[in-house]
Symmetry: C2
Subunit: 243 residues, 2 copies
DNA sequence: TCTAGCAGGTATACGGCGTACACCTAATGC
DNA sequence: GCATTAGGTGTACGCCGTATACCTGCTAGA
Protein backbone atom coordinates (compact mmCIF):
# COMPACT_ATOMS: atom_id res chain seq x y z
CA UNK A 1 0.00 0.00 0.00
CA UNK A 2 2.75 2.45 0.88
CA UNK A 3 4.39 0.88 -2.10
CA UNK A 4 1.40 1.77 -4.18
CA UNK A 5 1.53 5.31 -2.94
CA UNK A 6 5.20 5.51 -3.72
CA UNK A 7 4.87 4.34 -7.26
CA UNK A 8 1.73 6.38 -7.79
CA UNK A 9 3.20 9.58 -6.41
CA UNK A 10 6.31 9.20 -8.52
CA UNK A 11 6.02 10.25 -12.13
CA UNK A 12 7.15 7.19 -14.01
CA UNK A 13 10.68 7.12 -15.29
CA UNK A 14 11.45 7.77 -18.89
CA UNK A 15 14.60 8.04 -20.93
CA UNK A 16 14.70 11.78 -20.68
CA UNK A 17 14.48 11.85 -16.91
CA UNK A 18 17.08 9.13 -16.61
CA UNK A 19 19.51 11.07 -18.78
CA UNK A 20 18.92 14.35 -17.01
CA UNK A 21 19.46 12.67 -13.66
CA UNK A 22 22.63 11.05 -14.95
CA UNK A 23 23.97 14.39 -16.11
CA UNK A 24 23.16 15.98 -12.79
CA UNK A 25 24.69 13.13 -10.86
CA UNK A 26 27.88 13.22 -12.90
CA UNK A 27 28.09 16.94 -12.29
CA UNK A 28 27.79 16.28 -8.62
CA UNK A 29 29.94 13.24 -7.95
CA UNK A 30 32.19 13.04 -10.99
CA UNK A 31 32.31 10.87 -14.03
CA UNK A 32 34.12 7.92 -12.51
CA UNK A 33 31.74 7.76 -9.58
CA UNK A 34 28.70 7.60 -11.81
CA UNK A 35 27.34 4.08 -11.59
CA UNK A 36 24.08 2.50 -12.56
CA UNK A 37 23.43 1.62 -8.96
CA UNK A 38 24.09 5.09 -7.69
CA UNK A 39 21.95 6.64 -10.39
CA UNK A 40 19.11 4.28 -9.57
CA UNK A 41 19.33 5.20 -5.95
CA UNK A 42 19.19 8.87 -6.87
CA UNK A 43 15.99 8.19 -8.78
CA UNK A 44 14.52 6.17 -5.93
CA UNK A 45 14.40 3.06 -7.99
CA UNK A 46 16.05 -0.33 -8.15
CA UNK A 47 19.14 -0.54 -10.41
CA UNK A 48 17.57 -2.85 -12.95
CA UNK A 49 14.77 -0.40 -13.56
CA UNK A 50 17.15 1.76 -15.54
CA UNK A 51 17.54 -0.96 -18.10
CA UNK A 52 13.98 -0.37 -19.26
CA UNK A 53 15.11 3.03 -20.53
CA UNK A 54 18.70 2.61 -21.62
CA UNK A 55 20.26 -0.45 -23.16
CA UNK A 56 23.17 -0.56 -20.72
CA UNK A 57 25.76 1.75 -19.28
CA UNK A 58 27.27 2.46 -22.66
CA UNK A 59 23.85 3.51 -23.86
CA UNK A 60 23.48 5.75 -20.87
CA UNK A 61 26.75 7.49 -21.63
CA UNK A 62 25.79 7.85 -25.27
CA UNK A 63 22.60 9.51 -24.17
CA UNK A 64 24.42 11.85 -21.83
CA UNK A 65 26.69 12.95 -24.64
CA UNK A 66 23.58 13.56 -26.68
CA UNK A 67 22.22 15.83 -23.99
CA UNK A 68 25.40 17.86 -24.05
CA UNK A 69 25.45 18.13 -27.81
CA UNK A 70 21.96 19.55 -27.56
CA UNK A 71 23.51 22.57 -25.94
CA UNK A 72 25.72 23.47 -28.90
CA UNK A 73 24.47 26.32 -31.06
CA UNK A 74 23.71 25.68 -34.73
CA UNK A 75 26.10 27.27 -37.22
CA UNK A 76 25.62 30.98 -37.70
CA UNK A 77 24.11 31.87 -41.05
CA UNK A 78 25.69 34.04 -43.69
CA UNK A 79 29.14 34.18 -42.23
CA UNK A 80 32.35 33.19 -43.94
CA UNK A 81 33.49 29.71 -43.06
CA UNK A 82 36.24 30.81 -40.76
CA UNK A 83 34.13 32.82 -38.39
CA UNK A 84 31.35 30.24 -38.58
CA UNK A 85 33.69 27.44 -37.58
CA UNK A 86 35.30 29.54 -34.93
CA UNK A 87 32.03 30.54 -33.33
CA UNK A 88 30.70 27.03 -33.47
CA UNK A 89 33.74 25.55 -31.84
CA UNK A 90 33.64 28.14 -29.11
CA UNK A 91 29.96 27.36 -28.59
CA UNK A 92 30.77 23.68 -28.30
CA UNK A 93 33.46 24.57 -25.84
CA UNK A 94 31.00 26.48 -23.71
CA UNK A 95 28.51 23.63 -23.83
CA UNK A 96 31.08 21.05 -22.83
CA UNK A 97 32.61 23.18 -20.15
CA UNK A 98 29.35 23.33 -18.30
CA UNK A 99 30.07 19.75 -17.30
CA UNK A 100 33.53 18.89 -16.04
CA UNK A 101 33.15 15.29 -17.14
CA UNK A 102 32.00 16.09 -20.67
CA UNK A 103 35.40 15.77 -22.18
CA UNK A 104 35.98 12.30 -20.77
CA UNK A 105 32.53 11.24 -21.82
CA UNK A 106 32.96 12.39 -25.40
CA UNK A 107 36.39 10.82 -25.65
CA UNK A 108 35.18 7.55 -24.23
CA UNK A 109 32.41 7.12 -26.78
CA UNK A 110 33.73 5.12 -29.68
CA UNK A 111 30.42 4.29 -31.29
CA UNK A 112 28.98 7.31 -32.98
CA UNK A 113 25.37 7.96 -32.10
CA UNK A 114 23.08 9.86 -34.46
CA UNK A 115 23.47 12.96 -32.31
CA UNK A 116 27.23 12.82 -32.75
CA UNK A 117 26.95 12.16 -36.46
CA UNK A 118 24.52 15.03 -36.85
CA UNK A 119 26.97 17.41 -35.27
CA UNK A 120 29.87 16.11 -37.29
CA UNK A 121 27.89 16.31 -40.47
CA UNK A 122 26.83 19.86 -39.91
CA UNK A 123 30.36 20.75 -38.89
CA UNK A 124 31.71 19.24 -42.08
CA UNK A 125 29.13 21.22 -43.97
CA UNK A 126 30.63 24.51 -42.84
CA UNK A 127 33.81 23.81 -44.74
CA UNK A 128 32.06 22.53 -47.84
CA UNK A 129 29.77 25.56 -47.84
CA UNK A 130 32.86 27.71 -47.49
CA UNK A 131 34.17 26.43 -50.77
CA UNK A 132 36.53 23.77 -49.50
CA UNK A 133 36.92 20.73 -51.70
CA UNK A 134 35.64 17.47 -50.26
CA UNK A 135 39.24 16.30 -50.27
CA UNK A 136 40.58 19.20 -48.25
CA UNK A 137 37.57 19.16 -45.96
CA UNK A 138 38.25 15.55 -45.16
CA UNK A 139 41.78 16.16 -44.03
CA UNK A 140 40.88 19.35 -42.27
CA UNK A 141 38.28 17.51 -40.21
CA UNK A 142 40.94 15.05 -39.16
CA UNK A 143 43.29 17.86 -38.25
CA UNK A 144 40.68 19.59 -36.14
CA UNK A 145 39.89 16.32 -34.41
CA UNK A 146 38.69 16.74 -30.88
CA UNK A 147 38.97 20.47 -31.12
CA UNK A 148 35.63 20.46 -32.83
CA UNK A 149 34.24 19.68 -29.38
CA UNK A 150 36.03 22.61 -27.91
CA UNK A 151 38.78 20.87 -26.05
CA UNK A 152 42.45 20.29 -26.61
CA UNK A 153 44.39 17.16 -25.95
CA UNK A 154 45.60 18.24 -22.58
CA UNK A 155 48.69 16.31 -21.58
CA UNK A 156 49.98 19.34 -19.80
CA UNK A 157 47.73 20.06 -16.87
CA UNK A 158 49.67 21.38 -13.90
CA UNK A 159 52.82 19.57 -14.85
CA UNK A 160 54.85 22.21 -13.12
CA UNK A 161 52.90 22.72 -9.93
CA UNK A 162 51.74 19.27 -8.92
CA UNK A 163 49.90 20.33 -5.79
CA UNK A 164 48.15 23.52 -6.82
CA UNK A 165 47.70 24.33 -3.17
CA UNK A 166 47.33 27.86 -1.95
CA UNK A 167 50.76 29.14 -0.98
CA UNK A 168 49.74 29.30 2.64
CA UNK A 169 49.71 25.52 2.81
CA UNK A 170 53.41 25.21 2.10
CA UNK A 171 56.09 27.31 3.72
CA UNK A 172 57.81 29.61 1.28
CA UNK A 173 61.22 28.05 1.75
CA UNK A 174 59.89 24.57 1.08
CA UNK A 175 58.26 25.87 -2.08
CA UNK A 176 61.50 27.41 -3.18
CA UNK A 177 63.33 24.15 -2.53
CA UNK A 178 60.79 22.20 -4.54
CA UNK A 179 61.07 24.61 -7.41
CA UNK A 180 64.85 24.42 -7.34
CA UNK A 181 64.73 20.64 -7.39
CA UNK A 182 62.24 20.80 -10.22
CA UNK A 183 64.40 23.25 -12.13
CA UNK A 184 67.40 20.99 -11.77
CA UNK A 185 65.64 18.00 -13.20
CA UNK A 186 63.24 19.62 -15.67
CA UNK A 187 64.89 22.89 -16.66
CA UNK A 188 62.92 23.39 -19.84
CA UNK A 189 59.52 22.78 -18.34
CA UNK A 190 60.30 25.16 -15.54
CA UNK A 191 61.56 27.72 -18.02
CA UNK A 192 58.31 27.86 -19.92
CA UNK A 193 56.19 27.55 -16.81
CA UNK A 194 57.84 30.54 -15.20
CA UNK A 195 57.88 32.56 -18.40
CA UNK A 196 54.12 32.49 -18.41
CA UNK A 197 53.72 34.45 -15.23
CA UNK A 198 56.74 36.67 -14.85
CA UNK A 199 54.53 39.67 -15.44
CA UNK A 200 52.51 39.45 -12.29
CA UNK A 201 55.40 38.43 -10.10
CA UNK A 202 54.19 35.06 -8.88
CA UNK A 203 56.77 32.34 -8.94
CA UNK A 204 55.32 29.50 -10.90
CA UNK A 205 52.00 30.91 -11.79
CA UNK A 206 48.39 30.28 -11.36
CA UNK A 207 48.01 27.62 -14.03
CA UNK A 208 47.54 28.33 -17.70
CA UNK A 209 44.86 30.36 -19.38
CA UNK A 210 43.07 27.47 -21.02
CA UNK A 211 40.88 29.64 -23.15
CA UNK A 212 43.86 31.49 -24.55
CA UNK A 213 45.71 28.26 -25.27
CA UNK A 214 42.68 26.83 -26.95
CA UNK A 215 42.10 29.80 -29.20
CA UNK A 216 45.79 30.01 -29.97
CA UNK A 217 45.86 26.48 -31.32
CA UNK A 218 42.51 26.81 -33.03
CA UNK A 219 43.48 29.95 -34.88
CA UNK A 220 46.78 28.42 -35.88
CA UNK A 221 44.87 25.61 -37.52
CA UNK A 222 42.25 27.80 -39.12
CA UNK A 223 44.91 30.05 -40.58
CA UNK A 224 46.62 26.98 -41.95
CA UNK A 225 43.41 25.76 -43.51
CA UNK A 226 42.83 29.12 -45.12
CA UNK A 227 46.25 29.14 -46.66
CA UNK A 228 45.85 25.66 -48.03
CA UNK A 229 42.51 26.47 -49.55
CA UNK A 230 43.83 29.63 -51.12
CA UNK A 231 46.65 27.68 -52.65
CA UNK A 232 44.33 25.04 -54.12
CA UNK A 233 45.80 22.27 -52.04
CA UNK A 234 44.95 18.68 -52.94
CA UNK A 235 45.98 15.51 -51.17
CA UNK A 236 47.26 14.03 -54.41
CA UNK A 237 49.71 16.85 -54.92
CA UNK A 238 50.70 16.65 -51.26
CA UNK A 239 51.52 12.99 -51.56
CA UNK A 240 53.67 13.58 -54.57
CA UNK A 241 55.44 16.38 -52.77
CA UNK A 242 56.12 14.16 -49.81
CA UNK A 243 58.00 11.29 -51.37
CA UNK B 1 57.06 -29.31 -0.77
CA UNK B 2 55.77 -28.91 -4.29
CA UNK B 3 55.13 -25.39 -3.15
CA UNK B 4 58.75 -25.10 -2.24
CA UNK B 5 59.80 -26.33 -5.63
CA UNK B 6 57.45 -23.92 -7.33
CA UNK B 7 58.67 -20.89 -5.53
CA UNK B 8 62.27 -21.97 -5.80
CA UNK B 9 62.11 -22.68 -9.49
CA UNK B 10 60.44 -19.38 -10.21
CA UNK B 11 62.71 -16.38 -10.40
CA UNK B 12 61.20 -13.98 -7.90
CA UNK B 13 59.01 -11.22 -9.22
CA UNK B 14 60.29 -7.72 -9.53
CA UNK B 15 58.89 -4.49 -10.82
CA UNK B 16 60.45 -4.92 -14.21
CA UNK B 17 59.00 -8.37 -14.79
CA UNK B 18 55.60 -7.24 -13.60
CA UNK B 19 55.59 -4.32 -16.02
CA UNK B 20 56.80 -6.39 -18.92
CA UNK B 21 54.14 -8.99 -18.25
CA UNK B 22 51.51 -6.29 -18.02
CA UNK B 23 52.54 -4.85 -21.36
CA UNK B 24 52.47 -8.27 -22.95
CA UNK B 25 49.11 -9.08 -21.44
CA UNK B 26 47.59 -5.81 -22.59
CA UNK B 27 48.91 -6.50 -26.07
CA UNK B 28 47.23 -9.86 -25.96
CA UNK B 29 43.86 -9.25 -24.34
CA UNK B 30 43.38 -5.52 -24.66
CA UNK B 31 43.58 -2.62 -22.30
CA UNK B 32 40.16 -2.92 -20.76
CA UNK B 33 40.64 -6.62 -20.04
CA UNK B 34 43.87 -6.04 -18.19
CA UNK B 35 43.17 -6.61 -14.52
CA UNK B 36 45.36 -7.13 -11.53
CA UNK B 37 43.87 -10.57 -11.06
CA UNK B 38 44.44 -11.62 -14.61
CA UNK B 39 47.98 -10.31 -14.58
CA UNK B 40 48.70 -12.20 -11.38
CA UNK B 41 47.37 -15.38 -12.90
CA UNK B 42 49.61 -14.87 -15.91
CA UNK B 43 52.60 -14.60 -13.59
CA UNK B 44 51.56 -17.67 -11.61
CA UNK B 45 51.07 -15.67 -8.48
CA UNK B 46 48.27 -14.57 -6.22
CA UNK B 47 46.80 -11.12 -7.01
CA UNK B 48 48.02 -9.44 -3.86
CA UNK B 49 51.60 -10.39 -4.68
CA UNK B 50 51.64 -7.67 -7.30
CA UNK B 51 51.19 -5.03 -4.66
CA UNK B 52 54.68 -5.68 -3.42
CA UNK B 53 55.99 -4.29 -6.70
CA UNK B 54 53.51 -1.63 -7.74
CA UNK B 55 51.54 0.66 -5.47
CA UNK B 56 48.21 -0.15 -7.07
CA UNK B 57 46.64 -0.38 -10.49
CA UNK B 58 47.30 3.27 -11.22
CA UNK B 59 50.93 2.67 -10.46
CA UNK B 60 50.96 -0.31 -12.76
CA UNK B 61 49.59 1.77 -15.61
CA UNK B 62 52.10 4.51 -14.90
CA UNK B 63 54.83 1.94 -15.13
CA UNK B 64 53.50 0.58 -18.39
CA UNK B 65 53.51 4.04 -19.90
CA UNK B 66 57.07 4.35 -18.72
CA UNK B 67 58.00 1.19 -20.57
CA UNK B 68 56.52 2.58 -23.75
CA UNK B 69 58.25 5.92 -23.39
CA UNK B 70 61.48 3.97 -23.14
CA UNK B 71 60.97 3.06 -26.77
CA UNK B 72 61.01 6.64 -28.03
CA UNK B 73 64.25 7.78 -29.65
CA UNK B 74 66.14 10.71 -28.14
CA UNK B 75 66.14 13.90 -30.17
CA UNK B 76 68.46 13.85 -33.16
CA UNK B 77 71.49 16.04 -32.72
CA UNK B 78 72.46 18.99 -34.87
CA UNK B 79 69.23 19.29 -36.77
CA UNK B 80 67.05 22.35 -37.01
CA UNK B 81 64.16 22.34 -34.60
CA UNK B 82 61.57 21.52 -37.18
CA UNK B 83 63.08 18.31 -38.41
CA UNK B 84 64.10 17.36 -34.88
CA UNK B 85 60.55 17.75 -33.61
CA UNK B 86 59.11 16.02 -36.61
CA UNK B 87 61.40 13.02 -36.31
CA UNK B 88 60.84 12.76 -32.58
CA UNK B 89 57.09 12.84 -32.92
CA UNK B 90 57.20 10.20 -35.59
CA UNK B 91 59.43 8.08 -33.39
CA UNK B 92 56.95 8.44 -30.55
CA UNK B 93 54.23 7.47 -32.94
CA UNK B 94 56.07 4.31 -33.88
CA UNK B 95 56.72 3.45 -30.25
CA UNK B 96 53.11 3.93 -29.27
CA UNK B 97 51.74 2.13 -32.27
CA UNK B 98 53.52 -1.03 -31.29
CA UNK B 99 50.86 -1.34 -28.60
CA UNK B 100 47.26 -0.80 -29.57
CA UNK B 101 46.34 0.24 -26.05
CA UNK B 102 49.15 2.77 -25.65
CA UNK B 103 47.04 5.71 -26.64
CA UNK B 104 44.37 4.95 -24.07
CA UNK B 105 46.99 4.36 -21.44
CA UNK B 106 48.76 7.65 -22.05
CA UNK B 107 45.50 9.57 -22.14
CA UNK B 108 44.27 7.96 -18.95
CA UNK B 109 47.31 8.97 -16.93
CA UNK B 110 46.66 12.27 -15.28
CA UNK B 111 49.52 12.23 -12.81
CA UNK B 112 52.78 12.84 -14.56
CA UNK B 113 55.46 10.33 -13.69
CA UNK B 114 59.14 11.25 -13.93
CA UNK B 115 59.33 9.33 -17.20
CA UNK B 116 56.58 11.45 -18.68
CA UNK B 117 58.10 14.64 -17.36
CA UNK B 118 61.48 13.67 -18.75
CA UNK B 119 60.02 13.25 -22.19
CA UNK B 120 58.07 16.47 -21.98
CA UNK B 121 61.09 18.34 -20.76
CA UNK B 122 63.31 17.11 -23.52
CA UNK B 123 60.56 17.81 -26.02
CA UNK B 124 60.23 21.35 -24.75
CA UNK B 125 63.97 21.68 -25.05
CA UNK B 126 63.85 21.17 -28.80
CA UNK B 127 61.93 24.39 -29.26
CA UNK B 128 64.03 26.37 -26.85
CA UNK B 129 67.19 25.11 -28.52
CA UNK B 130 65.68 26.10 -31.84
CA UNK B 131 65.53 29.69 -30.73
CA UNK B 132 61.91 29.87 -29.63
CA UNK B 133 61.17 32.19 -26.78
CA UNK B 134 59.98 30.55 -23.59
CA UNK B 135 56.69 32.31 -24.13
CA UNK B 136 56.12 30.95 -27.61
CA UNK B 137 57.40 27.53 -26.62
CA UNK B 138 54.86 27.39 -23.87
CA UNK B 139 51.92 27.99 -26.16
CA UNK B 140 53.34 25.80 -28.85
CA UNK B 141 53.56 22.90 -26.43
CA UNK B 142 49.91 23.36 -25.61
CA UNK B 143 49.02 23.47 -29.28
CA UNK B 144 50.89 20.28 -30.00
CA UNK B 145 49.22 18.59 -27.07
CA UNK B 146 48.77 14.88 -27.48
CA UNK B 147 50.39 14.98 -30.86
CA UNK B 148 53.72 14.92 -29.08
CA UNK B 149 52.91 11.29 -28.38
CA UNK B 150 52.25 10.62 -32.00
CA UNK B 151 48.52 10.38 -31.99
CA UNK B 152 45.70 12.62 -33.01
CA UNK B 153 42.47 13.18 -31.20
CA UNK B 154 40.54 10.69 -33.22
CA UNK B 155 36.83 11.36 -33.06
CA UNK B 156 36.46 10.20 -36.58
CA UNK B 157 37.22 6.52 -36.69
CA UNK B 158 35.02 4.68 -39.20
CA UNK B 159 32.20 7.12 -38.82
CA UNK B 160 31.11 6.39 -42.33
CA UNK B 161 31.41 2.64 -42.44
CA UNK B 162 30.20 1.42 -39.07
CA UNK B 163 30.73 -2.26 -39.72
CA UNK B 164 34.03 -2.40 -41.53
CA UNK B 165 33.18 -5.88 -42.66
CA UNK B 166 34.57 -7.37 -45.82
CA UNK B 167 32.09 -6.73 -48.62
CA UNK B 168 31.37 -10.41 -48.88
CA UNK B 169 29.53 -10.32 -45.58
CA UNK B 170 26.88 -7.94 -46.87
CA UNK B 171 25.10 -8.26 -50.18
CA UNK B 172 25.95 -5.48 -52.58
CA UNK B 173 22.42 -4.18 -52.80
CA UNK B 174 22.09 -3.95 -49.03
CA UNK B 175 25.34 -2.02 -48.92
CA UNK B 176 24.09 0.36 -51.55
CA UNK B 177 20.87 0.87 -49.62
CA UNK B 178 22.77 1.60 -46.44
CA UNK B 179 24.95 4.08 -48.20
CA UNK B 180 21.96 5.79 -49.72
CA UNK B 181 20.29 6.05 -46.34
CA UNK B 182 23.50 7.38 -44.91
CA UNK B 183 23.84 9.91 -47.68
CA UNK B 184 20.34 11.15 -47.07
CA UNK B 185 20.91 11.79 -43.44
CA UNK B 186 24.59 12.72 -43.39
CA UNK B 187 25.29 14.15 -46.83
CA UNK B 188 28.44 16.01 -45.88
CA UNK B 189 30.09 13.15 -44.10
CA UNK B 190 29.37 10.87 -46.99
CA UNK B 191 30.68 13.48 -49.39
CA UNK B 192 34.08 13.64 -47.76
CA UNK B 193 34.19 9.92 -47.07
CA UNK B 194 33.62 9.06 -50.70
CA UNK B 195 35.94 11.77 -51.96
CA UNK B 196 38.76 10.03 -50.25
CA UNK B 197 38.56 6.91 -52.29
CA UNK B 198 37.13 7.82 -55.65
CA UNK B 199 40.49 7.11 -57.21
CA UNK B 200 40.54 3.41 -56.65
CA UNK B 201 36.87 2.88 -57.36
CA UNK B 202 35.71 1.44 -54.05
CA UNK B 203 32.50 2.87 -52.74
CA UNK B 204 33.15 4.13 -49.30
CA UNK B 205 36.74 3.26 -48.91
CA UNK B 206 39.03 1.23 -46.82
CA UNK B 207 39.25 3.65 -43.92
CA UNK B 208 41.57 6.61 -43.77
CA UNK B 209 45.33 6.71 -44.12
CA UNK B 210 46.07 7.51 -40.51
CA UNK B 211 49.69 8.22 -41.12
CA UNK B 212 48.89 10.73 -43.81
CA UNK B 213 46.28 12.46 -41.67
CA UNK B 214 48.69 12.61 -38.81
CA UNK B 215 51.50 14.14 -40.79
CA UNK B 216 49.11 16.53 -42.48
CA UNK B 217 48.00 17.99 -39.17
CA UNK B 218 51.48 17.91 -37.70
CA UNK B 219 53.01 19.79 -40.59
CA UNK B 220 50.22 22.31 -40.52
CA UNK B 221 51.09 23.06 -36.93
CA UNK B 222 54.83 23.09 -37.44
CA UNK B 223 54.48 25.48 -40.36
CA UNK B 224 52.34 27.69 -38.19
CA UNK B 225 54.92 27.65 -35.43
CA UNK B 226 57.64 28.57 -37.87
CA UNK B 227 55.70 31.53 -39.14
CA UNK B 228 54.99 32.79 -35.65
CA UNK B 229 58.60 32.52 -34.66
CA UNK B 230 59.76 34.31 -37.78
CA UNK B 231 57.36 37.12 -37.04
CA UNK B 232 58.56 37.49 -33.47
CA UNK B 233 55.20 36.53 -31.99
CA UNK B 234 54.58 37.17 -28.31
CA UNK B 235 51.55 36.30 -26.29
CA UNK B 236 51.28 39.86 -24.99
CA UNK B 237 50.95 41.26 -28.47
CA UNK B 238 48.50 38.51 -29.34
CA UNK B 239 46.29 39.39 -26.42
CA UNK B 240 46.24 43.02 -27.39
CA UNK B 241 45.39 42.09 -30.94
CA UNK B 242 42.53 39.92 -29.78
CA UNK B 243 40.43 42.33 -27.81
C1' DT C 1 -16.92 -7.38 -18.59
C1' DC C 2 -13.43 -10.47 -19.12
C1' DT C 3 -8.89 -11.31 -20.48
C1' DA C 4 -4.48 -11.23 -22.85
C1' DG C 5 -0.60 -8.48 -23.46
C1' DC C 6 2.61 -5.41 -22.17
C1' DA C 7 5.18 -1.53 -20.10
C1' DG C 8 7.58 -0.59 -16.15
C1' DG C 9 9.36 -1.67 -11.58
C1' DT C 10 11.36 -5.48 -8.50
C1' DA C 11 14.24 -9.31 -6.34
C1' DT C 12 17.83 -12.22 -6.54
C1' DA C 13 21.97 -13.73 -8.02
C1' DC C 14 26.43 -14.22 -10.57
C1' DG C 15 30.90 -13.26 -11.77
C1' DG C 16 34.05 -9.81 -12.01
C1' DC C 17 36.86 -6.04 -10.02
C1' DG C 18 40.58 -3.45 -6.74
C1' DT C 19 42.60 -3.91 -2.53
C1' DA C 20 42.82 -3.87 3.02
C1' DC C 21 44.52 -6.83 6.41
C1' DA C 22 46.54 -10.61 8.68
C1' DC C 23 49.53 -14.14 8.02
C1' DC C 24 53.43 -17.22 6.68
C1' DT C 25 58.22 -18.26 5.28
C1' DA C 26 62.82 -18.02 3.73
C1' DA C 27 66.75 -15.31 3.42
C1' DT C 28 69.68 -11.64 5.53
C1' DG C 29 72.40 -8.89 8.83
C1' DC C 30 74.00 -8.34 13.44
C1' DG D 1 71.26 -17.65 17.02
C1' DC D 2 68.03 -14.49 16.56
C1' DA D 3 65.38 -10.38 14.90
C1' DT D 4 64.18 -8.17 10.68
C1' DT D 5 62.33 -7.95 6.48
C1' DA D 6 61.19 -8.84 1.53
C1' DG D 7 58.13 -11.40 -0.96
C1' DG D 8 54.22 -14.47 -1.48
C1' DT D 9 49.53 -16.20 0.47
C1' DG D 10 44.52 -16.43 1.95
C1' DT D 11 40.53 -14.40 3.12
C1' DA D 12 37.32 -11.02 2.98
C1' DC D 13 34.83 -6.62 1.83
C1' DG D 14 32.39 -3.60 -0.87
C1' DC D 15 31.80 -2.14 -5.19
C1' DC D 16 30.47 -2.85 -10.13
C1' DG D 17 27.35 -4.21 -14.53
C1' DT D 18 23.71 -6.96 -15.72
C1' DA D 19 21.07 -11.79 -16.76
C1' DT D 20 16.96 -13.79 -15.45
C1' DA D 21 12.68 -14.39 -13.49
C1' DC D 22 9.00 -12.29 -11.48
C1' DC D 23 5.19 -9.18 -10.21
C1' DT D 24 1.70 -5.58 -10.99
C1' DG D 25 -1.41 -2.55 -12.91
C1' DC D 26 -2.99 -0.43 -17.28
C1' DT D 27 -4.91 -0.85 -21.82
C1' DA D 28 -7.14 -2.79 -25.85
C1' DG D 29 -9.79 -6.10 -28.08
C1' DA D 30 -13.45 -9.59 -27.71
Amino acid sequence: MTQQLDTARRTPLNRERVLQAAVALADEVGFESLSMRRLAEELGVVPMALYKHVANKEGLLDGMVGVIIGGIDPPVRDANWKVAVRLRVLSARRALQRHPWARQAVESRTNKTPAVLDYMDSFTGMFLAGGFSADLTHHVMHAIGGRMWGFTQELFQDAADPQAQPPSEIPADARAAMLQQMAARYPNIVAIATSMSHDDGSVVGHGCDDQFEFEFALDLLLDGFERLQGRGWTSKQAMIGRR
